[in-house]
């Protein structure tokens, strides 16, 4: 179960990076999704970051990674002392994460539309190796406009890549978004889909753990509309 004291620490950890005491929705759109995944879903810990059979979490939407770093720090993947250097020349924590610099970070991201195709390959590789590990990738709703994602969604659906899970953090920042468009896009390619309140931890947990034995799974997590 979620430890509320741990979750309550995250805002303070983010403050080490941003200097702000409190954070608005734009800075934290991914926070609850990340927390539920790392707290209750992903089978990975600071001791298993090199285990070939760990679950993989790929942050594709690399922009605004403060929530990600805060969760990694709270769960012990990175030292808290790193947070205050965020974005500086000597810090391993950049405005976009680099997997070669940060323990527990599975991909370097920043350019949109790379995480989901990489996740397809990772899930295929784990399957080929006979591993039961799951692959998760977090994308933004606007990010899904990148065509590379469409290649990945269509292929993964066609081959029934059940080890693959996508969570779309939907803050309605896509230029030409329409209600229901994201879920319909995945469902149309044969995916299992769910849409939930991206702030509701129990609803997120239920959506993340819904069985999808023969197909990939997409969870659309709605959060407050991006205003900046």
């Amino acid at each position: 179960m979620t430890d509320n004291r741990e979750y309550a620490d995250l805002d303070g950890l983010m403050s080490l990076m941003t200097g702000d005491e409190k954070h608005g929705p734009a800075a934290t759109s991914t926070l609850d999704v990340l927390w539920v995944l790392y707290d209750r879903v992903l089978r990975v810990s600071p001791h298993t970051v090199a285990d070939p059979d760990r679950d993989r979490f790929l942050l594709s939407k690399g922009h605004g990674p403060m929530a990600y770093y805060a969760v990694l720090a709270r769960k012990g993947f990175v030292p808290r002392a790193w947070l205050s250097g965020f974005g500086t020349f000597d810090s391993p924590l950049g405005f976009h994460p680099d997997r070669t610099l940060v323990p527990g970070v599975e991909i370097g991201s920043g350019s949109l539309g790379h995480g989901l195709p990489l996740a397809v390959g990772t899930a295929l590789g784990l399957k080929a190796r006979g591993s039961g590990a799951n692959t998760w990738v977090l994308v933004g709703d606007a990010e899904l406009d990148e065509g590379s994602n469409h290649e990945a969604v269509a292929y993964a659906g066609a081959v029934g890549l059940a080890g693959l899970n996508v969570v779309v953090v939907d803050n309605r920042s896509a230029r030409y978004g329409r209600p229901g468009r994201l879920e319909a896009g995945f469902a149309n390619e044969g995916w299992s889909t769910a849409h939930v309140d991206g702030r509701d931890h129990e609803a997120l947990f239920a959506a993340f753990t819904a069985p999808h034995p023969d197909r990939p799974h997409a969870v659309v997590a709605h959060v407050e509309r991006k205003t900046d």
Partner: protein, 299 residues
């Protein structure tokens, strides 16, 4: 003669049998040649359809999961179209893959510009850490593929072509090999242009080096041969964009006064169809064309 591409698909199929880390990633092209391998290794022969960004993204993901991917399609769709995926999904992730292209600069001459990729190696030269093999014969293609797959988690590009030399040479991934010595300059012949180069320099007093591996560029051998020659004149004969390796010659000879000529395919679009043999001649890369360029430059 068996083509390099035919040898590649046969060898890659054997590698799938031999090494459980090997995966072959395709985007329809050559997929029919892996039908048997796909039956034997359904999880490690992956055809993503006509999706070349995914071709490279999946290769990067497979490498992240501990496999050794071999990705293959035509050069224009393997390097040029998904170039950001090559840069980010392989290089930036710090993972390796073996990219094997077919088609090269003009193999599908009748297909026109869309199927020609003379700039593939120049593009890869903007990235760090790529090994580039340009085999001149199917036997060399097989040896270099086997070497590449076994070469740790390195990033390797293998450029196959329809054009080939009459006989294979032993491959030396670590550097160039000297085929003849002379005092009037050093000619570096790359891959399938060796036969035409040797014919072109007949009677000229020059050293000829053969390169089936162009990256890393064998600067020590070039320096040594230039020092042995009476003239510090260097000619590169490359079956892709003219001058692609000239910066590497300049770096190798940065403290040696020298002249360098980069011969290869022209930058200008020919807008001609026909055969690859006609394109070789049109770019001046047949023996007669090379003879003219070399004799004029070497004096």
């Amino acid at each position: 003669m068996e083509s390099m591409r035919e040898r590649f698909t046969a060898t890659a199929s054997q590698l799938l049998d031999e090494d459980p880390r090997v995966a072959v990633v395709l985007a329809v092209i050559s997929s029919d040649r892996f039908t048997e391998a796909k039956k034997a290794h359904p999880d490690r022969v992956i055809d993503v359809g006509i999706r070349e960004q995914l071709l490279i993204g999946v290769s990067g993901g497979l490498a992240l999961a501990g496999l050794r991917p071999i990705a293959h399609t035509f050069a224009s769709f393997l390097v040029e179209r998904p170039f950001e995926q090559v840069k980010l999904d392989l290089d930036h992730q710090g993972v390796g893959a073996v990219l094997v292209s077919a088609g090269g600069s003009y193999d599908m001459a009748s297909g026109g510009r869309t199927h020609q990729a003379p700039g593939d190696i120049a593009l890869l030269d903007t990235l760090d850490g790529w090994t580039v093999h340009v085999p001149g014969h199917p036997d060399e293609a097989e040896a270099l593929l086997r070497h590449a797959v076994a070469d740790g988690d390195s990033r390797v590009y293998i450029r196959l072509s329809e054009q080939a030399n009459r006989a294979a040479l032993p491959v030396r991934p670590e550097g160039f090999q000297r085929l003849r010595s002379g005092a009037g300059g050093v000619v570096v012949a790359v891959g399938p242009l060796l036969d035409a180069t040797l014919e072109a320099v007949e009677g000229l007093d020059v050293t000829v080096l053969y390169a089936s591996t162009v990256r890393p560029f064998d600067a020590p051998t070039l320096r040594a041969e230039v020092r042995n020659a009476a003239r510090s004149d260097v000619v590169l004969v490359e079956p892709y964009l003219a001058g692609t390796s000239v910066p590497y010659v300049a770096e190798a000879l940065c403290d040696v006064p020298h002249r360098v000529l980069g011969v290869g395919t022209g930058r200008e679009e020919l807008r001609r169809y026909g055969t690859w043999q006609e394109h070789v001649a049109a770019h001046g890369l047949d023996a007669a064309g090379l003879r003219k360029r070399l004799a004029g430059f070497l004096r």
